[in-house]
């Protein structure tokens, strides 16, 4: 296979007409033909009952009347603008991020004399179709015009964000920094500029400044000193901006619904990955103490059900923290989810590390690479690539398991149902309808994650044919 494109697409079979399709797929021989005739009524009947439920008998008022509740739960109504702003900022960040990513891939391809598959509206729809289905379901249940306006605004924000592709390639890192900053802003427009949150912004700014500033004609150690000073300066600026600009918000102990589910999962995923990575490296360390601690932690956590950890987070975490710190139950839950997932991530990453032949390490050592760089530039990139499906599987799992927070009386997406069915109108009816709606929501995001992981896998396999 020649690498004429940067993405290696699987080959598609030639297209055939519908009649030919029916003949070759449903009646290829006598046995299959009989099977088709027997099974067809079952499938048709199931589809009929499904359609009847969805379009005729379903009492969907339970969703229509509680759409806001499902989305944001008991979040204070007067502060809703924050969530709308957050949605737009997220779309903006996504636009900036994806267009920067596409542009930088185009740069790489151009340098290598390859072409990149063009992004079309159709390819975007194919990529995110499960999320689009969910959005359409939401709009279908929308009782007012507001959700439509919000959605239009979100799409507009995304499109504005894609103008980041016009940033010249020399400043590509500005695009990444911008996307990260907008992401932080999206979080803070709701929580406000509380506590140590300036540190996140300072970190992003410093990293962005470090990556962007390349001084003409300055190389080696001197360049490192220059870039470090710029990065530190950026962090200091962030700190002062945050001390001057105090922007109060709504803490996450007031969040619920899908909004809470998504953020809780995002935090558990983003935090558990580096922790798991460190645990995996520690478990392979030559220092016995590190190895024992890591192995002990991993085996301990993996031997305990998540629900136990969640309860322990609520009741026991307090004993381990210094007096006076009293994290909210959401923070406790995120901590428990992170600690739990990290143990599994560690084992997955360890599997990946073991799959890398020893010759890779030897080649790196023979070239004089120090062990840190060897790990970062040779072993980890290959190890992580080989475990993407397992990693994303774990992340999908913790996303769905965030529904266990329901048992801690936290009203996340599934838990909102208990509020909905406490309403007199829905006390006894429409339990199935609300469940189906919630299921569609979970599926849409889980499927999108799975699809993105496949994409990432194909993309990283580029050139390895």
């Amino acid at each position: 296979m020649t690498a004429s494109t940067l993405d290696s697409h699987p080959l598609h079979p030639p297209r055939i007409g519908p009649l030919e399709w029916i003949r070759s797929r449903l009646f290829p021989n006598l046995r299959s033909g009989i099977l088709t005739i027997l099974l067809a009524p079952v499938v048709v009947y199931a589809l009929y009952r499904g359609a009847l439920f969805f379009f005729v008998n379903g009492r969907w008022e339970v969703v229509t009347r509680n759409l806001t509740l499902f989305m944001q739960g008991t979040y204070p109504r007067g502060e809703q603008w924050r969530i709308v702003a957050q949605l737009m900022l997220l779309a903006l960040a996504l636009g900036v991020g994806t267009s920067t990513s596409a542009a930088s891939r185009a740069d790489i391809a151009r340098e290598a004399g390859l072409t990149v598959g063009k992004r079309t509206p159709l390819s975007i729809i194919k990529r995110f179709w499960s999320l689009i289905v969910f959005v359409l379901v939401l709009l279908y249940f929308a009782a007012t015009v507001t959700p439509w306006l919000v959605m239009a605004g979100t799409v507009a924000a995304f499109l504005v964000g894609t103008s980041a592709r016009f940033i010249p390639s020399r400043f590509r890192n500005i695009g990444w920094t911008l996307a990260a900053l907008i992401l932080v802003a999206a979080f803070q427009v709701v929580v406000g500029t509380v506590g140590y949150s300036w540190m996140i912004t300072a970190g992003v700014l410093a990293a962005g400044a470090w990556a962007t500033f390349q001084f003409e004609g300055v190389e080696g150690r001197r360049a490192t000193v220059y870039r470090t000073s710029v990065a530190v300066a950026a962090a200091v600026v962030a700190y002062f901006v945050y001390t001057v600009l105090v922007f109060p918000g709504v803490g996450w102990d007031h969040w619920s619904g899908l909004h809470l589910t998504l953020w809780v999962s995002a935090f558990a995923i983003v935090l558990s990955f580096p922790l798991g990575l460190l645990l995996a490296l520690a478990r392979r360390s030559t220092l016995p103490v590190l190895r024992w601690v890591s192995t002990g932690y991993i085996e301990l956590i993996r031997g305990v059900p998540l629900i136990t950890l969640l309860f322990m987070g609520q009741y026991i975490l307090g004993f381990m923290l210094p007096q006076g710190t009293d994290p909210s139950s959401i923070t406790r839950a995120i901590t428990a989810m992170t600690l739990f997932t990290a143990a599994y991530v560690a084992e997955i990453v360890r599997g990946g590390l073991q799959s890398i032949p020893h010759g890779q390490t030897e080649a790196g050592l023979a070239l004089g690479l120090p062990t840190g760089k060897l790990m970062r530039m040779i072993v980890l990139p290959q190890a992580l690539r080989s475990v993407i499906p397992a990693l994303v599987g774990q992340f999908i799992s913790i996303f769905k398991d965030s529904s266990l927070l329901y048992i801690l009386a936290i009203h996340e997406f599934l838990g909102v149902r208990s509020l909905v069915h406490a309403q007199p109108d829905f006390r006894v009816i429409a339990h199935a309808e609300s469940l189906v709606f919630v299921a569609i929501g979970y599926w849409a995001f889980a499927y999108a994650m799975s699809k993105e992981s496949q994409r990432l896998e194909v993309r990283l396999r580029a050139g390895k044919s």
Partner: protein
């Protein structure tokens, strides 16, 4: 043995001129198994030493001790004036001066050919990207595959991959090159292209220690041939004498089996 021949062997057992690698009384154990027994060997600057011997004789272990991929248990190894001890800085310094080519190539599959070559100069020697890439292209021209620079290792033939591996080692501008059976994993039709590169390298004055089964290469290029068996150096000599008139029975047996 007549006196004249004895004199030739005596000359051939010692490196001529400026010594760059000294190996003195080196023992190496893998558990209870002794892989190297009292190895003494010097290599002079610009010398090409070919190490041959049956499998399991310790040839690879010996050259892997020279850049500390294996740690020797007793004795002394000095490379370019630096003694290999547990001091990490010494080890790093020796590795920077020593290039190694492996039987299985061990290219980095996730990097392009050019990135494979420029990685160490950039990360270890802190060379600017542009300069490193120019150097990388020169090295690729030296091994005669500059047109493959942007490809990934998986897209190249075995012979091309091994030549990239040689270019990668050369890009660190080493004083010594170690070859650990560089053609053993190659299809027969690709062996020549790799050997040609190695011959040119030897002609350019590179100090080389080559573990190989390619007797033709040993005969044509080696200044000295070292024969090892059971972890010991059995015999050292110039190729002419080694192949036509070996002293030791063990050597004669080995040569009769492979020639």
């Amino acid at each position: 043995m007549n006196r004249e021949r004895a004199q030739v062997f005596a000359d051939a057992t010692e490196a001529k001129g400026d010594v760059i690698i000294e190996v003195e009384g080196v023992d190496k154990f893998f558990g209870d198994f002794q892989a190297l027994k009292d190895i003494n060997m010097n290599v002079g600057r610009q010398e090409v030493v070919v190490v041959i011997g049956p499998s399991g004789s310790g040839k690879s272990t010996l050259i892997r001790c020279i850049n500390r991929l294996e740690k020797h248990d007793r004795g002394r190894i000095v490379v370019n004036g630096i003694e290999l001890t547990d001091d990490l800085r010494n080890i790093q310094e020796v590795r920077r001066e020593t290039g190694m080519v492996f039987q299985q190539f061990n290219l980095f599959p996730h990097l392009t050919v050019l990135d494979n070559i420029t990685l160490a100069p950039r990360e270890v020697r802190r060379m600017p990207k542009k300069e490193a890439e120019e150097l990388g292209m020169r090295m690729l021209e030296r091994v005669k595959i500059p047109e493959q620079a942007r490809k990934y290792p998986g897209q190249l033939s075995g012979g091309q991959q091994q030549r990239v591996a040689i270019a990668r080692a050369l890009a660190m501008q080493p004083k010594v090159m170690l070859f650990d059976e560089p053609t053993s994993a190659l299809d027969p039709e690709m062996i020549k292209e790799v050997l040609d590169v190695m011959v040119e390298l030897a002609d350019s004055g590179m100090t080389m220690i080559v573990v190989t089964h390619e007797m033709g290469f040993a005969r044509a290029v080696a200044n000295r041939v070292v024969f090892m068996a059971d972890g010991q150096i059995v015999e050292v000599g110039t190729p002419e004498h080694f192949f036509t008139d070996p002293r030791e029975d063990r050597t004669k047996l080995f040569l009769s089996q492979i020639l």
